[in-house]
Amino acid sequence: MNLRNRLPSFNQILSAYAVIAFMLFAWALLWFFWNIPSWTKFMTLGYLVATLSYPMAASFLESLTILALLLIPAMILPAAWFRDRFAARGAAVTLGLLGVIMLRDYLIVVDNFLLKPKPIFWLTLSLSTALLLFLAVKFQWMEKALTLLAERLTIFLYIFVPLSVISLLVILVRNITL
């Protein structure tokens, strides 16, 4: 079996990855900046940069993990179901899954526990993801919109990928025994 043939095209993978990376990096950066007022009270710039490099590296690994998890069904399922529409359907799954997890986490911080009970959380998670997938399958405009969105977001990879590489380097340097 030729693994390469079973993978979606590079552009499709890149587009889906852009959605994943955008959501994760934007989220991590948002909460990093949310913490800045308290951290800058006692952290020097050097510590602040080092502190940012760890969550950035984590977001990078996290984005690759999610991409890898999406590629599995793309390779297993019939090509027409997922592989050939990887950008749109990958984006739909990512938006559904990550969106609901993020919404729950955000609500908890503002003392709203609507999505905290496990049954409600899982129901919302699966229904939202299923709905987005269904819309992407059923309506061409939705598929187009998702594909377009994913393609537009690839521009942010010019920020996130170098940021990840720099973060990994910072971590490496700081942890080499001196």
Binding site: L24, W27, A28, W31, F32, W34, N35, S38, W39, T40, K41, F42, M43, T44, Y47, A50, T51, L52, S53, Y54, P55, A58, S59, E62, T65, I66, L97, L98, I101, M102, D105, Y106, I108, V109, I171, R174, N175, I176, T177, L178
Partner: protein, 511 residues
């Protein structure tokens, strides 16, 4: 002074030799020959206020073991922490500097780089094997800053029962500060929003933490003790540090710093301590001028009960630990110090220690020192400060106290009692550590007088309060307007000292 020091060291040697000959030869057989320098162990119980301990006269019998150990210890009756929460209290103990100097003033903050090598570990490392452990992550950040001076830094998550989230900082021992903030308290954060939502989601799937944290465990009716990162049992943690100390005793002299999280909130005593105490009549309806909370008297009294039960639990572990070390012969050549990083309050509409207040409950801490071979009790009533620990340890180790170290050698351990000295405590968590202190609370104790200054709080007036701790230990009657001579001289000293502390940062700002 010099003569006193030599005399004391000689006495230590004689005493330890004496006890060697007496009882514990068999158990000492596996230890190295005692050096002429005593081992130094500091046991810190987080948020242990002197006000709730029977060894300091509290109405509930919360500390039968400390009461018992006091019979062969020096007991300090007016010992004060330099801050009202972990970071400043701990940093001051370890550096001998006031918070407005070392600048560890913020919640989980850092001390300034120029002081990181001025700490008890670095100052003793040339002659002592240094070891440190804390279950309190804010204190562990400081140990991370001091890591060059620490030969053995025992990771904070030792002795846990179950972690609340993956703890990754331990895998980056060379970079403890950023990994605490960037990983342990951020990526999977249980306190705010996890920065890695999917990883946190996966961690949740594989870790059913709620079962341990929220539900009563066998023997723990309120659930297991928890430090916001993991759940633990005090008996396991104390047995763990006992083993550590026994191991350290193989390479004496050693300095061991053990900073336990209990009895810090959440107060979770074992079953046998629950319902142990009668109701206490605490009629004090105290003034609440600067309170940020307004918790009812009844619910504060309920929290006080939980805390007292938890203190009794911790006290029993201290008793077991010291007994175990005594039986192994370690105490014969060890100066064993029991203290806290700050107190805990149950009054004026607040409980805990994250507060603007510097009333005695939140800064009056225990200090008991069991010197090697000490058989009789000594009491020190002159005010002393957490800052004094650093110079005292140096003195006990026979080393000179460097200029620039604050604090004084403790009376009873080579220092002279001075009941008129000035003892400062600083609460400044809202300020930038890189700027002058403009908002906060400062207290100054001189003899029985205590001046408290609230400054720069939004929508609150600049206020001074003066109390006489001897006549009014509950700090109910403000004498600032009445006792004008004491008030004005103490006020002047406080404002001068604050201005001195602010001077380098005011310059920074105007540049």
């Amino acid at each position: 002074m010099n003569l006193g020091r030599r005399d004391f060291l000689k006495a230590l040697t004689v005493l330890s030799a004496g006890s060697l000959a007496a009882a514990s030869l068999p158990s000492l057989g596996r230890l190295r020959a005692p050096s002429d320098k005593p081992n130094l162990v500091i046991l810190v119980l987080d948020a242990l206020t002197a006000r709730n301990l029977s060894v300091y006269g509290y109405a509930r019998q919360t500390t039968p073991n400390l009461d018992r150990l006091a019979a062969r210890a020096t007991v300090y009756h007016a010992h004060y922490s330099a801050g009202n929460f972990t970071t400043p209290g701990t940093a001051s103990m370890l550096t001998g500097l006031l918070p407005w100097t070392h600048r560890g003033i913020n919640l989980g903050g850092l001390i300034h780089e120029q002081f990181v090598d001025q700490n008890i570990f670095s100052l003793l490392q040339d002659e002592y094997f240094t070891a440190a452990f804390t279950q309190n992550y804010y204190a562990d950040i400081l140990l991370g800053q001091f890591r060059r001076g620490i030969d053995r830094h025992i990771i904070s998550s030792s002795y846990y029962e179950q972690v609340d989230r993956p703890l990754l900082g331990q895998y980056f021992p060379n970079d403890p500060v950023p990994t605490y903030y960037g990983l342990d308290d951020f990526v999977f954060s249980g306190r705010s929003v996890p920065s890695s939502p999917f990883f946190a989601f996966l961690a949740d799937l594989f870790q059913e933490t709620a079962s341990l944290e929220d539900h009563p465990q066998a023997g723990y009716p309120y659930g297991l003790p928890n430090n916001f990162f993991y759940s633990y049992r005090n008996d396991v943690a104390f047995a763990g540090i006992q083993q550590e100390i026994l191991n350290l005793a193989q390479q004496s002299p050693f300095l061991g710093y053990f900073h336990m999280f209990s009895p810090h909130e959440p107060y979770r005593p074992r079953q046998e301590f629950v319902g142990k105490f009668p109701k206490l009549d605490m009629p004090f309806k105290k003034p609440t001028k600067f309170s940020t909370l307004d918790i009812s008297h009844e619910s504060i009294q309920a929290r006080r009960m939980d805390y007292d039960e938890y203190v009794a639990d911790v006290d029993s572990e201290i008793g077991k630990l010291v007994d175990g070390l005594s039986a192994a012969g370690v105490m014969d050549n060890t100066c064993f110090i029991i203290t806290s990083d700050h107190g805990e309050m149950f009054e004026r509409g607040e409980y805990g220690h994250i507060t603007r207040f510097l009333y005695d409950a939140v800064i009056h801490i225990p200090l008991l020192v069991l010197a090697p071979g000490q058989t009789a009790r000594a009491d020190v009533t002159a005010p002393t400060s957490g800052l004094d620990l650093a110079p005292t340890l140096l003195h006990l180790a026979g080393k000179p106290v460097p200029a620039g170290l604050g604090g004084r050698i403790l009376p009873g351990l080579g220092g002279r009692a001075d009941s008129e000295r000035s003892i400062f405590t600083v609460e400044a968590k809202e300020n930038s550590s890189f700027g002058p202190l403009i908002q906060g609370t400062i207290s100054l104790i001189q003899g029985h007088s205590k001046l408290i200054h609230y400054m720069g709080y939004p929508k609150k007036p600049e206020t001074f309060e003066l109390y006489n701790l001897q006549d009014d230990p509950e700090e109910m009657k403000d004498l600032f307007e009445a006792d004008t001579s004491t008030a004005s001289s103490m006020k002047e000293e406080m404002l001068d000292s604050l201005a001195d502390a602010n001077r380098p940062f005011v310059k920074n700002q105007s540049k």
